[in-house]
Symmetry: C2
Subunit: 157 residues, 2 copies
DNA sequence: GTGTGAGTTGAAGTGGACTTCAACTCAAGG
DNA sequence: CCTTGAGTTGAAGTCCACTTCAACTCACAC
């Protein structure tokens, strides 16, 4: 019934390096039982956690946020399919947003390639939310990572 | 005709911090003239470079690769719209690939949420290239970042 | 029992992309 | 002229997600 996995087995089955698994454990993302000789033994359920972690990273979520999400799982019992579904659904909007952003970038890039502007001068890239037209003339860059500068303005050429 | 920008101006117009602009310069991504007093003065064309850098980062390209791309621009003359178009087009397939991956993740996640498996047990997440079915029974994770482990196998439950 | 490959630890190192700091110098308005 | 905000430098620091290392110990097939 237990059927525990060694760190090497979990690593092989998840595609995550043992060192990374130990790291995840230190961060409180996964847990392991120990043998008498202090070696880790993972319940099969941990495989799901590792899967969730890797998927979440793909969506662009930090390990810290992933930990928070995993903390919301019931401790008493093995998480149910519904528990996992709830967690997965919680990333859905971020995934949508990320896809939307990249698709837009692609479209804009196509447009820019067509006209050769690329400079973001006229294309929608300038106005991430399409709502900044009032703040002075000209272009504004998309801010990929958190940047807190709302005072950008003016044209490129 | 020159109409040069100070680092503060370039920062404001690009949304990139001055420290980052200096960093880009150290890496050879952008360049600046100097005043008699050793202050940077940027030609307007640098704004395009910064735009290209930020767009490229969005696509998931490292600064090192961006530098290589920028190095392919003509040094003698100000890059033409065609030059920029060529560079932008060079990221297009990476952008497509990234979008494809995320879209697929979304679809799979939807499926998993529906069935509650999330564990990647049966869904396509397991087989990134749809071609690994022969290598032993069971699941395989998508490998988001370079991982060189082709020996993963077995089921999740 | 012994050899070997797998596992253990804490500490330190890596790489990417910047930011912060201290100690200065410049540029421009009043 | 003088003040003040903007700019300069190199070195060091930060954050994230790990990896590497040395020095051991375990587990298990023979």
């Amino acid at each position: 019934m237990p059927d525990l996995l060694t760190i090497g087995e979990l690593s092989a089955r998840s595609g995550v390096a043992p060192s990374a698994l130990r790291y995840y454990e230190r961060l409180g993302l996964i847990r392991a039982d120990r043998t008498g000789g202090n070696q880790r033994r993972y319940a099969r359920a941990e495989l799901r956690r590792v899967a969730f972690i890797r998927i979440s990273q793909q969506v662009g979520v930090s390990l810290d946020e992933i930990r928070e999400a995993l903390d919301s799982l019931p401790e008493a019992r093995t998480p149910s399919p519904q528990d996992w579904a709830r967690l997965s659904a919680s990333w859905r909007s971020r995934l949508d947003e990320r896809i939307r952003l990249l698709s837009r970038l692609r479209d804009d890039l196509d447009g820019c390639i067509g006209c050769g502007c690329l400079s973001l001068q006229r294309c929608t890239l300038n106005n991430p939310e399409d709502t900044l037209a009032g703040e002075g003339p000209g272009a504004r860059l998309v801010l990929p990572r958190p940047t807190d500068d709302p005072t950008l303005a003016s044209s490129l050429n």
